[in-house]
Each structure stands twice: as C-alpha cells, then as structure tokens.
C-alpha cells in the first residue's frame, strides 16, 4: 500500500485549496457568477409561470369530481377514505342538494347539502374549519350577517350553533349560498371531490376511478385546463432555461479539466511520491466540492438580492426551482471537473515533472 491515507488525502486537498487562496477565490467567484446567472434566469423567467400555476391550483386544477356513470350513489366511507392515500391531499363527498328553510326575520329557503368533513378544505383551501356540524357559504353568511358561533334557526329543527363559514367563491361559486351539514362518512354520497398531490396529477383520474371498483364511476376535473391557451406545467417542463444547468455544469467541468492540465506537474509530483490516480481523483474532488459548497449558497444569495432589487421578492417555489438548477449544475461540474486528474498520463513521471505546464 503506497500513497497518502484517505484522511491525509482529504487533508492534503483542503491544505492545497487553503494555500492557493487566490486560485480558490477566483474559482468561487466564477462558479458563483455563473450559478447566480442561471438562478436569476429561473427566478425571472419562471416567475409568471409559477404564479399562473399557483392560480390554477387555487382554482382547483388538481380537483377531480367523481360521480357514478349510471346514476345512483357512492359509498361515503370509500370517498372519505381516499383522504388517507399518499397521492391525495383532501377528499370528501356530498349528498345531492336539498332545500332548507332558515328562520331569519322570516323564512328563507336555501340550498343545503350533507358533506363529509374532508370536503371543507377541497371547497375552500384556506378554510380553517376542521370539524363542525353546520357550515355556511360565505356569500350567505355575509348577506345574513351571520358569523361562527351564532345560533341558527331552521324550520322544524332545534337551534344549532354556526360552526364556520367557508369561502367557495373560487372553486364553486354557487355553493356560496349553501348550508353544509357536516356528517360522519356513513351511508352514501352523490359526488366525491378529490384534490390530489401535484406529483400525482397525471395519473389521478385512473387512481380515483380505481378506488371505486364495485361501481362504474367517471372522474372529471373541476376545471378543464384545455380551456386556457397556456398550460404552466407544460411550459415549465419546456422552459429553455431548464437545461442551463447542463451547459453551466459542462463549463465547470471543462474548467476543472483545464485546471487539471495546468496542474499536471503537481500531479506528477504526487505520483512520484507514491500516490496514484485514486489519490489525485479524491484530492481534485474535495477541492471541487469545497468550491461548490461555497458557491451554491452565495449564488442563490446574490441572485435573490439581484431579483429583489430589480423586481420583487421571489416565492418559495421559485427559490426551490432556482436552487435545484444551481445544485444540478454544481453537481455536474463536481462530477466532471475531477476527471482531469484521471486524464493525466502517469506512466512517464519524469516527463510529467519536467513539464511545467
């Protein structure tokens, strides 16, 4: 066994990097500027796509409404049970609408429906009503001046306290005047509303329909994205800057290979002292990772500052997208760059040492 121990190899690389501070600083600045560039491209050009995507999500692009194809009803327990599936965010059912008379300074007829509790966050994602027996649509509550906690008088029924108000204006405007009676998931429902996780959107229809094997059901989306001329998901997947990390990663890799070539006399020195390609590869890898670890956060920081200064504060989703791009580029550079150490012929060590690069 010849050469430095693994620990000493890593230590040697760190000492080499620390000793050549100017070289290290230049590498970090170059990486930071280029990584920052692609992060800025992501933050700038993907902003409206993500905003549009968010708008569609709020409108219910991931909500599917399941109903029997040949009339009849669905088991409420199966519908509510979907809420515990990993690919489902929320699920709940409702019965067909009926009419209920509210006694508010005179009898007033309102549409009402029995729902399971999981339907509340599907109808109103901002709803904080977790469990209540009576919930009112926001339009009705506003018109009647009712707020949670006030007693509600319905014809032929004892008074009941209003459990909450939900705003259905975005996902089901008509339900803004409805009265919802939250019931346990027993018996049957006429419709099951399921909001799926973003990653399950493509397969959602099949998954939902398969959840009701005993009944012939059809799932239709709450909103049809085909009615829009733009599909943000498709546009995001096809955005030109999505492959910038490959370009930048390749540039980093090329810089690493070039650096390996210019430092070939140094490689020859390590080789003549008994260190092989494995040692050179590890040292080069450690030096590259040092640069990457410092460059990634600094590039994100300066790109956020830049975007904040020129436009506005980027959203968390946008930052995540930018960070992912930066990490991918840095990872690609970190994989390619050290290969320069492998490209150096170690056979003729004497010649390598004489070669001053």
């Amino acid at each position: 066994m010849t050469g430095l121990s693994p620990f000493e190899t890593v230590r040697e690389a760190v000492h080499n990097a620390a000793a050549a501070r100017v070289r290290l600083a230049i590498q970090i600045v170059a990486w930071t500027v280029m990584l920052g560039g692609i992060v800025i491209a992501e933050l700038t050009f993907s902003q409206d796509l993500l905003a549009f995507n968010e708008l569609l999500d709020q409108a219910g692009r991931r909500v599917l409404i399941v109903a029997p194809t040949e009339g009849g009803e669905l088991p409420a327990s199966t519908c509510a049970g979907l809420g515990s599936e990993s690919w489902v965010q929320n699920a709940g059912g409702r019965s067909p609408p009926e009419f209920t008379t509210l006694l508010v300074s005179g009898p007033l007829r309102f549409q009402s429906a029995r729902i399971t509790v999981g339907l509340l966050p599907v109808l109103d994602p901002a709803s904080e009503v977790a469990r209540a027996t009576l919930v009112l649509g926001k339009t009705a509550a506003d018109e009647l001046g009712l707020r949670p906690g006030v007693p509600i008088h319905m014809a032929q029924r004892p008074p009941i306290s209003l459990g909450g108000v939900i705003d259905t204006s975005v996902r089901n405007e008509a339900a803004g005047r409805w009265i919802f009676e939250v019931t346990p998931p027993v018996g049957s429902v006429s419709e099951c509303w399921v909001e799926v996780e973003p990653w399950a959107l493509d397969d959602a229809r099949g998954l939902v329909e398969a959840a009701f094997p005993a009944i012939s059901v059809a799932a239709r989306p709450l909103i049809d994205v085909n009615q829009f001329t733009r599909d943000p998901v498709v546009e995001l997947a096809k955005r030109p800057q999505r492959q910038a990390w490959i370009v930048i990663g390749s540039v980093f890799g090329f810089m690493g290979l070039l650096s390996g070539w210019f430092r070939r006399a140094e490689s020859g020195l390590y080789a003549v002292l008994g260190n092989g390609r494995r040692h050179l590869l590890v040292m080069s890898q450690v030096e590259t990772l040092l640069v990457a670890y410092i460059s990634i956060p600094s590039s994100i920081l300066w790109s956020v500052v830049w975007v904040g200064w020129t436009g506005g504060i980027p959203s968390a989703d946008l930052l995540l997208l930018g960070t992912r791009t930066a990490v991918l580029a840095a990872a690609m550079g970190a994989i390619i760059a050290p290969l320069g150490a492998l490209a150096i012929p170690l056979k003729d060590i004497a010649a390598l040492l004489k070669d001053r690069g």
Binding site: M1, T2, G3, L4, S5, E8, E12, H15, N16, A19, A20, A265, E266, G268, L269, Y270, V272, L273, G274, N275, D348, I349, A350, L353, K354, R356
Partner: protein, 215 residues
C-alpha cells in the same frame, strides 16, 4: 548486509535508436556513483531503468540477486528522485513539501513532521521550514527537493542533473546536500555534466554511445 542492485545486459532503444547497449552495472548500498556523459547520451534513460520507472528493451534488473519487474512498491521502497527541474507545491511551506514524501509512505503526521525538520536541517534549510516554497531561490528549492528525497531514507537517491540549472556556487551546496549531508546508508546515483560534483562521488562512470566505462 548491504543491498546490491545490478543491471545485467540492459539494452534500451527508442524505435530504431539504440540508447543503451548491453550494460552491466552493480551498485552497492550507500555508495555514491556519478554518471557523466554528453546530452542525449542516455543518462536519464539509464536512471529511469535503474529506478524501475522504465522497463528495458532487454536485459534484467536484480535486487540482491533477485530479478525484479516494474513494481511501484519496490520502486518507492528503494528510490527517491531529484530532478533537474525543481517540482514543489509552491504555496505550501518547505516543511509541508518535505513531510508530504513521508506521509505518502504511511508515516504518521507527527513523525513525518519530525523527519522533515531533520531532513531540512541536513540540507541547511531548517530556518526556512515555514516559508512557502515559492519564496525560495532556485538553489534552495533544489535543496528542498534533496530533503524531500532523503526524508524517507531510500536505498538510493537518483538525481538527474540536479544542478543543471544552477550556478557553480549554488551547485556545490546542492551537491553537498546530496553527497556529504545524506544520511548514512543512503546511496546516490547522480547523472551530471559537472565534473566537480562527479569527482566528489565514490565512483564515476562515463556513458558514451550507449556504453558505460569507468573514468
């Protein structure tokens, strides 16, 4: 018992050009041998074959009577090199440069540091231990390379024109480090044009037209 390294009928050619012709050479452990000869006479090739860096076209190398092939572990155990062109890690200190050789042979960091200080002391560079290599002069750098070569106590230091780029005064300091200051038991083979340095060795051989002859 002293180590003996022998070349038996070693021939080497680059394509059609015959550089070494059926050479026989015997080296005793601890001896200092100088090989002189004009440029292009094959001194570097001879050292490379002796140092197990280059396999000969024909002939064999024996260590204590045993034929050896090109083996990196044996090469590192037997030899250290000093080249005409100084090669150091410029930004690292003299001590780190020398200790690196010991660390590469599996010596602990503490021991490597002690040995490196001792080697720097031998070549008269102890006061420069903590200076980055790039701040040293050409002669000091070559002495640093000598310290790096002797720190691991090899059987032989193979020096390929170590004073080729130095003036006479600096050359004598490097030669002194290589010959007079080397630790006991460490042999030296120097390929050189410098007759003064050659005369400081125990034995001088001339390499001309691919043939070794005593001087």
């Amino acid at each position: 018992m002293s180590l003996t390294i022998s070349l038996r009928g070693v021939t080497h050619s680059y394509e059609d050009h015959l550089v070494l012709k059926h050479l026989d050479l015997e080296l005793k452990g601890g001896e200092a041998l100088a090989v002189i000869g004009p440029s292009g006479s094959g001194k570097t090739t001879l050292l490379s074959i002796l140092g197990l860096l280059l396999p000969p076209t024909s002939g064999q190398i024996e260590v204590d009577g045993e034929v050896v092939e090109r083996r990196p572990d044996l090469r590192l155990h037997l030899y250290s090199w000093v080249f005409q062109t100084v090669n150091t890690l410029g930004r690292r200190t003299a001590l780190e440069n020398v200790a690196l050789a010991a660390l590469s042979r599996g010596v602990s960091r503490k021991e490597a540091s002690q040995n490196a200080s001792e080697a720097l002391d031998r070549v008269g560079l102890l006061d420069y231990s903590h200076r980055p290599a790039y701040t040293l002069s050409g002669g000091e750098l070559q002495r640093l390379c000598v310290a790096r070569a002797i720190v691991v106590r090899p059987a032989f230091v193979l020096a390929d024109e170590p004073t080729g780029q130095l003036d006479a005064r600096t050359s004598s300091k490097v030669a002194d480090a290589l010959l007079a200051k080397r630790p006991g038991g460490v042999g030296t083979v120097i390929a050189t044009h410098d007759i003064e340095i050659a005369n400081s060795c125990d034995r001088v051989l001339s390499l001309r037209d691919g043939v070794l002859e005593p001087v």
